[in-house]
Amino acid sequence: MATPLFPACAALAALLSLVLGTTAMAGPYVAGNRSFPATPTTEDPFVADEFALSAKRTREASTPSSPTVRDTEIEAEIGKRLTQNLGLSFEGGYEIEDPVGRTNSYGFENFKATLKYQFFKNEAHESLATFGVKREFGGTGAARVDADTVGTTTPTFYFGKGFGDLGDRIAYLKPFAVTGVLGYQVADRRSTARPDLIIAGGSIQYSLRYLEGNVRYLGLPEFIERLTPLVEFSYSTPGTRSSGTTTTGVIAPGVIYSGNYFDIGLEALIPATRSAGTNVGFIANFHWRFDGILESVFFGDEP
């Protein structure tokens, strides 16, 4: 039976939205003079109006009981602020499993929804923190691509921190920023085959735009100036007794190109644990920020 936590949170969010009204605010990705780009692997700590599309390609090595499997996932997510700091997003995906020498399996992944509330932001220290609850609706995806019939609920803490407040003696470290998540995934029907999971992830990024705009102008070409090299990591490990589920980890070095209203990210996916496979995959991500556009269309421009 599905936990009643998520519907209760969604109802509360809708009520708050009606009471407080929708507010057109600029720059949810911003803390001080720091604009955080949307990262392909780590979930963002922002509450924003956004649309994201990502494509992931991985390859699982063959085992004595199964052939090599090429796996392609296409995921889409749309998020909308209900108030300035409270947002709701929906996420769905389509997966194609291509085992060498066997017939492909394909189908939709489980549907997911996330409610987030940003409870802390410090402009001077370029930092923010958000709490969210993600709900995966078990049985909404296709069993042939291993979509779980058991739903999960994941309370998650998100944060972001830029280092623009470092001293001028180490000014070249100011463009660094980190983001991260820490969550605990609770299965609707916990078992050793479907244990709870501790989920952690993060990014270390270096913004060349921040370097040129806040530390020192180097005259970089605009295309280069818009790049943010980064390394992300993602881990999950059982939080309760399990049989067969082990720690899975991926390290993802890559780069993000930031336009004025969008980000495009590209990363390699390097397995960091045996259960994550042995082959390098990749992920490409497009992220569009449409904050204020709907409000502008319906309510006009606010000075």
Binding site: G27, G32, R216, Y217, G300, P303
Partner: protein, 113 residues
């Protein structure tokens, strides 16, 4: 009909035939300079006349950028290196926010009369 009104009507007809919008001639021609320094606009609000030139002077050692994004007017400058100028003219009256993609805290309110 006075001679002045007749002359104006003739001008409008000629302008229409030639595709010249006679009534849309810029009414201002002054130059207003706003300095960008210490990652801020050195004034937070300015009032200008329609057609006036707004000039932004980057006195910072950092790169800047200028943009306006409203339904009736949008402007995106290229990157603005140190000691360079960006010039901007507003075609219609109204209140506009001038911002910088690189420094999200920079904001200038421009009232165009």
């Amino acid at each position: 009909m006075t001679a002045t009104r007749r002359h104006r009507q003739i001008l409008v007809i000629i302008g229409t035939l030639l595709g010249i919008p006679v009534g849309a001639v810029a009414v201002g021609s002054e130059i207003h300079q706003v300095v960008q320094a210490e990652r801020k606009f050195q004034t937070t609000a300015i009032t200008i006349a329609r057609g006036d030139l707004l000039r932004f002077a980057n006195h910072d050692p950092y790169v800047h950028q200028i943009y306006v994004d409203t339904r009736n007017f949008a402007f995106e400058s290229d990157l603005q290196p140190p000691n360079e100028l960006v010039e901007l003219r507003f075609p219609t009256a109204g209140v506009y926010q001038v911002m910088c993609h690189i420094h999200p805290t920079m904001r200038l309110t421009v009232t165009v009369q």
